[in-house]
């Protein structure tokens, strides 16, 4: 497709009219002065140069391709994070099942209740040992206090 092969001569002659649209006389006399004044004013408001964030923003604005690749990189990181977190969930679930299967033989009803608490699933993912004191793990919830009491109870039962 060659735009020159078509007959656009009249249109191009008409477009020549655009070149005669001019700003008022002496319009550009002060244009560069205004630009420089605004640059000076900006420099005064920014005390110690441009921060790295502003420089990055400026470079992203100047190059849309860079902005696009930055966006893609952020999305890729997000997707990788999600995939990684779902992979981490798989052993948690299997551990939970293993523990749940093991507990009936122990006969600790109260412990089973404790392991089935959703609030404790994260804690179980990092420790397959029921002996581990729950107090060492993060206890941001009031429900953690409850599990601290119940877990040792099952082991006392097994030890006897």
């Amino acid at each position: 497709m060659n735009p020159e092969s078509e007959n656009f001569d009249q249109l191009r002659r008409l477009l020549a009219l655009k070149r005669h649209e001019a700003p008022p006389p002496r319009y550009f006399n002060d244009f560069s002065g205004q630009v420089i004044s605004r640059i000076r004013a900006n420099e005064k408001t920014v005390p110690t140069g441009i921060s790295w964030l502003q420089r990055m923003w400026a470079s992203l604005e100047a190059k849309p391709a860079m902005a696009g690749s930055f966006g893609v990189a952020v999305c890729a990181l997000l997707v990788a994070g999600v995939l990684y977190s779902t992979k981490m969930d798989v052993p948690v679930a299997s551990n939970n099942l293993t523990e749940a299967a093991a507990f009936p033989s122990m006969g600790g009803d109260s412990s089973t209740v404790a392991f089935n608490q959703p609030a404790n699933q994260a804690a179980l993912g990092y420790s397959t040992s029921p002996v581990m004191p729950m107090a060492q793990q993060s206890s941001s919830s009031l429900f953690d206090q409850f599990t601290i009491k119940t877990v040792p109870a099952s082991f006392n039962f097994n030890g006897n």
Binding site: L11, L14, L17, K18, H20, E21, P23, P24, F31, I36
Partner: protein
Amino acid sequence: MTNPAHEKTEAVSDTPPERVRRTTVTPEDEVDLVRRARQGDLEAYDELVRRYQERIYATLYHMTSNHEDANDLAQEAFIKAFQALKSFKGGSSFYTWLYRIAVNKTINFLKQRKNKSQMSLNDLDFNVENDPDLVALISDKTPRRDAGLAELQEKLNEAMQKLSEDHRMVVTLHDVQGLSHEEIAEIMECNIGTVRSRLFYARQQMQGYLSDYLK
């Protein structure tokens, strides 16, 4: 890629005459000015602004069909370019790099302004009466040339505003400003084939909009 800073004299079939009337700027001179401006020399940058202000303003004016918007955008483009000068590696000419900043800024502005456009047109200069292309076009159509020109100017700008930003930019840069396909491709960061196809469709659309004036 030709350096637009050089005096360009080759006869391209569709190159408008205005294209040839460029100021002579030696590349060494410009490189020195850019180097000084990068170091914060505002006098050097003032000189660079003076060199390109008319061309940048004209491009933005043809894109917006609004004198005030073009003025604001041109000033902001120059300020942005100064702030980003440290990231200018010299891979392209300063002129192309500056144009790219101005073009991106204008396209973003137009996308935000969508459907809120109000034309604020500049007057036609006195030379319009002597432009052979226009004399031939107008004298065939209207006995009252002044009225004909004003009407044509308005219709032409309306037709330009109906084009998408990318199509309008290609028509502005090529048919009005006289830049080559290669330069436009570099400014708009696309390949030459894309420039050609955009130019073709833009011209086709404009021919449709202005069919009453192009018989």
